[in-house]
Symmetry: C2
Subunit: 344 residues, 2 copies
């Protein structure tokens, strides 16, 4: 069962476990500072497919397949897939799981989709609605760029606040905790979740997503810390995904005004993914960015004991090319899960 703490934080009394996980990324992401710590780096972002949309789907499929393999599992072991991406109608995700013969629930949380899937999945497992499920998310620079911005061949200039949509996918298999049986030493468990509200502060610039998302991250992280009666230092790492450099600065400033200094434990998936010389401007973005950084480097660091208690706060910008063209504001959203490495 799930218990409510404080205002909105959910605590799982039998914490769901992360059984296995995998990250698959494109060539540019593989050449970045985290490159060696992903499970798969595509030699070619086409992934052997005829279109960018199919390439994205193939990348998500690769992450799912690898996560299952690493856990010694097959698709038959899953009760449910929760997946989503940035493409219209979440094309990358439904194509990736179309032939899988596993119940499927499409999720749309923009770049927060991986966090949404993990938070929702943990609730379903804790409540007995599934025994084992998979959460996945993906994005692809080429499919996103032509859908959201300009034709690829156009070569449009990017603003300094623009983020670079990551060609990346992440997948994690979660399993229900066993009744009356604690997690084993070294198990990664999801202890808490918090579903985010849309927070809209008047941003209408689709090239400044960090500014649109930071207030939502502020709302979610403030609420989580208050509900838990915790300080940032109670965690080894609090990571947003993906505010980029611009949004991360805004988040730190907003929290500092409340007397909360997040900086000693803070990272952002969008800031981590690309190196300074990779011309990614304000950093990485896209559903796949936080999904791959979590399901690759961050969870690896947890297995290695380098991170024992992690807040993964996935951030998304609720907008569509149509809504932006029609002058509608862009709201941010941020869903969070607390992941712990159990035992000594």
């Amino acid at each position: 069962m799930t218990e409510r703490i404080g205002q909105r934080t959910l605590r799982f009394d039998q914490a769901p476990r992360i059984l296995s996980h995998a990250a698959a990324v494109g060539k540019k992401e593989g050449a970045g500072p985290l490159g060696a710590r992903f499970d798969f780096v595509a030699p070619d972002d086409r992934m052997g497919q005829k279109s960018w949309e199919l390439a994205e789907s193939e990348l998500q499929k690769t992450a799912i397949r690898t996560a299952l393999q690493k856990g010694g599992l097959s698709r038959d072991d899953l009760d449910l897939v929760l997946a989503g991406d940035l493409l219209n109608q979440c094309t990358g995700s439904f194509l990736a799981s179309m032939q899988s013969d596993v119940p499927y629930l499409g999720q749309y949380g923009a770049c927060s989709t991986m966090a949404q899937g993990l938070a929702l999945g943990a609730c379903l497992l804790a409540g007995g609605a599934a025994r084992r499920l998979l959460a996945a998310a993906s994005s692809h620079f080429c499919s996103a760029e032509r859908q959201y911005r300009f034709p690829l061949a156009y070569g449009g200039q990017r603003t300094p606040t623009a983020q670079w949509t990551a060609t990346a996918a992440g997948a994690a298999v979660l399993a229900a905790g066993q009744p009356g049986q604690g997690a084993a030493d070294g198990d990664l468990i999801i202890t808490h979740a918090l579903f985010g509200k849309m927070v809209e502060m008047g941003v209408t610039d689709a090239n400044n997503m960090g500014a649109a998302m930071a207030p939502a991250a502020y709302d979610t992280l403030s609420t989580l810390l208050a509900d838990l009666g915790a300080q940032p230092r109670d965690f080894d790492c609090i990571v947003t995904g993906d505010l980029g450099h611009v949004g991360a600065d805004i988040l730190l400033t907003l929290l500092r005004e409340d007397g909360i200094d997040l900086s000693p434990v803070y990272s952002d998936c969008g800031s981590l993914l690309f190196g300074e010389k990779q011309d990614a401007h304000a950093g990485g973005s896209g559903c796949g960015c936080s999904a791959a950084v979590l399901c690759g480097p961050l969870l690896r660091d947890m297995h290695a004991g380098k991170i024992r208690r992690l807040v993964f706060a996935g951030t998304g910008a609720m907008m569509s090319p149509t809504s932006v063209q029609q002058g509608q504001p862009i709201a941010g959203i941020c869903h969070a899960v607390v992941i712990e490495r159990s035992g000594a």
Copy 2:
């Protein structure tokens, strides 16, 4: 908690209640055979907005506001909104809830979205992850037509198997069952849920969604009946939403081959929505079709005692204009909930 019965059916031991519900529809839908039984019929499908996307969002907002009002509730009473639609990035839904200050989880199940929200919502309530939540879905003929098919002014011919995207929205507020306390007489409760698999049988014609979705409805309904050890006659009504005339025929035929005669209790939301003279070809479709037919006429019939036990099986076609143009197959999906009127 949630218990698994048979292969895939979920049973709720404290069945979540449907506290209130509302349906808002467009002019054509209001002029159809069910017109008098919706809560709101738009005098003008523009809904006073400058674009069709904003009109759809306003329609969903109207359904949500009306459902809350009918239940004597405010948005503050909700822990969560689960909503989705057919527009790119689910624009209609995120705009409808953007200023609501309620945690939001975007759902994408194509036309099955209302059933997905109800099934998922029931699991979250049964597991303690929320106390009260709202599920909503919408569609709009004009926003869908120009996104999926042709510019409105083009006046393209429609094939006989094509369905008419309904201008409609439905919303339902669900609440957790009380521990150790049965439902009161006349309460509507969700007793079971089943999450559907994508079923793909090689259909690639975006103007024949009924054929693409019927095999998924067959899979879900066969599994549900087998898991419950039930016959169609054990229910007063088994309704799909929305196979339309073509898909409904295929579903009945597929089940008949297994010796199951669904016809005495079977209806389809897409077939119910429009009259014969309304030129809707194979019937209604769109997330709003099944959402409005359920949250208007069907749940009203349950309150009136005309239907005591209902299977609501929402069907969707997993495709995007891009996936269809790239020659990818269209998979159907079907999520189901069992709704009962408790007491004598």
